[in-house]
């Protein structure tokens, strides 16, 4: 039989009904409330100790790769970090039995990757792509640091010298190539007048919602010169970039945003740009300091001022942070939260059946669209029916 506090122990995203039931149970049972407090304390203690003993979880991945025979996956720098952390990692594994399970899980993941790779990219001989040591062989946990990658320092120095030389050559080549291309290609410039919004579909299928008094410039593609997925923006725009193997770059007067396939909003002027990421991942950097990159995760914002490091990404509520785009931006948003936002914007009650409340919806909608249209699309994605009307309010219920 389900008890209200099952939600407390097992639910990752309790529904309002579950919360209410739990609240009532705690109000009526002080022993349960005390036990709950201690339970949270134990969880917090476990969490804090894990964080203290394993401050960088990537090290655990490197450790498992190393143990699985994939030492070659590690850069010299990573190998050195792993060596330096060896003693601490051993201590963490002893103190936290769960971490040993994590290492085993990573090794299983390596085996899965092996299998997928073999299916998608068969090797030209059976002996290829096998790690030096196989999973389950359980070699020593960590070799002494003197035993691993004893490359002479000069090798590293010479490689860096080679890298720097190559980088300089590549930069010079790219600079010359860009200059030549710019001379050959005509530029498209779109200016959006005050009070207007323009949606542009680029040659690669990506779309740009360009807000009023904004300018977008890009090289006009033709048969000889395909779209280079590079645009200049002065103003405000919301981008939905289709996945592509070539990075999509947005330059503003103050910064550069690079993505592969994602959706994000940029507000830029001569002094700074604000970037809010809806989905995927973007890297932002000041225009004159491309090495000062900050990577944004979905639901985060960063501000880049000219010649200054981007601000630390901060979490934002997407529709609120992107309100200036005139869009509702839902990305794996619980349906009840989407309904709340729609209700607030349209001033019409929107209720969601409890069975659908936690369903996640993803979509971008214009705020000028009729509410019924937006609800109809959302309902389709979660297999629901829309009942009611603007006068009495709407209800989303499981499809009958």
């Amino acid at each position: 039989m389900q008890h209200p506090f099952d939600a407390l122990l097992f639910s990752e995203d309790p529904s309002p009904e579950q919360r209410a039931a739990l609240r009532e149970a705690l109000d009526n049972d002080s022993d349960l409330a005390a036990a709950f407090a201690r339970w949270q304390q134990a969880r917090a203690a476990v969490r804090e100790r894990l964080a203290a003993d394993l401050p960088d979880h990537h090290l655990l991945v490197l450790y498992a790769l190393d143990r699985s025979g994939y030492q070659e996956a590690l850069t010299d720098d990573e190998a050195q970090r792993l060596d330096a952390a060896a003693a601490d990692l051993e201590d963490a594994l002893r103190a936290h039995p769960g971490l040993a399970d994590v290492v085993d899980d990573i090794e299983d993941a390596c085996a899965d990757f092996d299998a997928v790779w073999a299916a998608h990219a068969p090797s030209s001989s059976a002996a290829e792509d096998r790690p030096a040591r196989r999973r389950g062989q359980r070699m020593e946990r960590m070799r002494p640091s003197t035993d691993r990658r004893a490359a002479p320092p000069s090798r590293s120095v010479s490689r860096w010298a080679w890298r720097i030389g190559t980088a300089v050559a590549v930069v010079l080549f790219v600079a010359v190539a860009v200059l030549l291309l710019q001379r050959d290609r005509s530029l498209v410039t779109l200016d959006v007048a005050e009070g207007e919004t323009q949606v542009v579909t680029l040659a690669d299928g990506s779309t740009v919602r360009l807000l009023e008094t904004s300018r977008l410039t890009y090289a006009d593609p033709d048969e000889a010169t395909p779209f280079n997925r590079r645009v200049q923006l002065d103003g405000r725009a919301f981008f939905e970039v289709v996945p592509g193997q070539q990075g999509f770059t947005v330059e503003t007067p103050s910064g550069v945003t690079t993505v592969l396939g994602t959706s994000f909003g940029i507000q830029a002027d001569a002094a700074a740009m604000d970037v809010v990421l809806a989905s995927g991942r973007v890297a932002v950097a000041p225009k004159n300091a491309p090495d000062q990159t900050v990577v944004l995760e979905p639901g985060q914002r960063s501000r880049v001022a000219a010649n200054a490091r981007p601000t630390t990404p901060e979490a934002v509520e997407l529709t609120e942070a992107l309100a200036w785009t005139g869009l509702f931006v839902f990305r794996a948003t619980p349906l009840h939260e989407a309904a709340t936002q729609l209700q607030a914007h349209y001033g019409v009650p929107v209720q969601v059946d409890a069975a659908l409340a936690d369903e996640r919806v993803t979509g971008t909608f214009e705020q000028e669209q009729p509410l019924a249209q937006v609800l109809s699309v959302l309902a389709t994605t979660v297999e629901a029916d829309v009942r009611g009307d603007t006068a009495s309010g709407y209800v989303l219920a499981p499809a009958s």
């Binding site: 990752e12 339970w39 990219a121």
Partner: protein, 187 residues
Amino acid sequence: MAASREFDAGLVERAQAGDEQAREILLTRLQPLLRAFFIKRIGRKTEVDDLVQNTLLRVHGGLEDLNHADRLKAFAMKAALFELHDLYRGRYGTKERLYDPEFPPNHSERPTAAGSSIDAERALAMLTPKARRILELREYGYRYQEIAEMIGTTEAAIKMQVKRAFDKMRDALATVIVGLTLLLGSL
């Protein structure tokens, strides 16, 4: 380690040298492979798209650091594992920030007679090794179903362990409260 035909060293080297077409081919070929890997690990979840894109971005951005062109597989595997574990580690942190104001309710912040006498150490000491192991995996970011697969049992069995641990903590606290009540009554 030799490379597969689809990812031969020559292609990787051309991509590293700045050949955009080679880079495009490389990433295009990696995409379905990564998708299959992530689906195998976490199922057909909405997060898979982001994981694939983020891994491609990681490979795209780090290709120049790949010392040997024929080691692309290991390099891509590492990138995918980093993204997968970033996902695990971020799963509950965000939710807790989102839901803490309402869930758990204020009761957890209210000091009680028993609460003042039992600190986090004692709360931890109440856990069996198995329950602690499960809790560690949960706090690392795994879901109960994933924990069950890792430990080789069912999700129901894992949840039963958690429930027992919670019940044990509850019983222990009830004993403390009764003890305190008796103590106060005798004064």
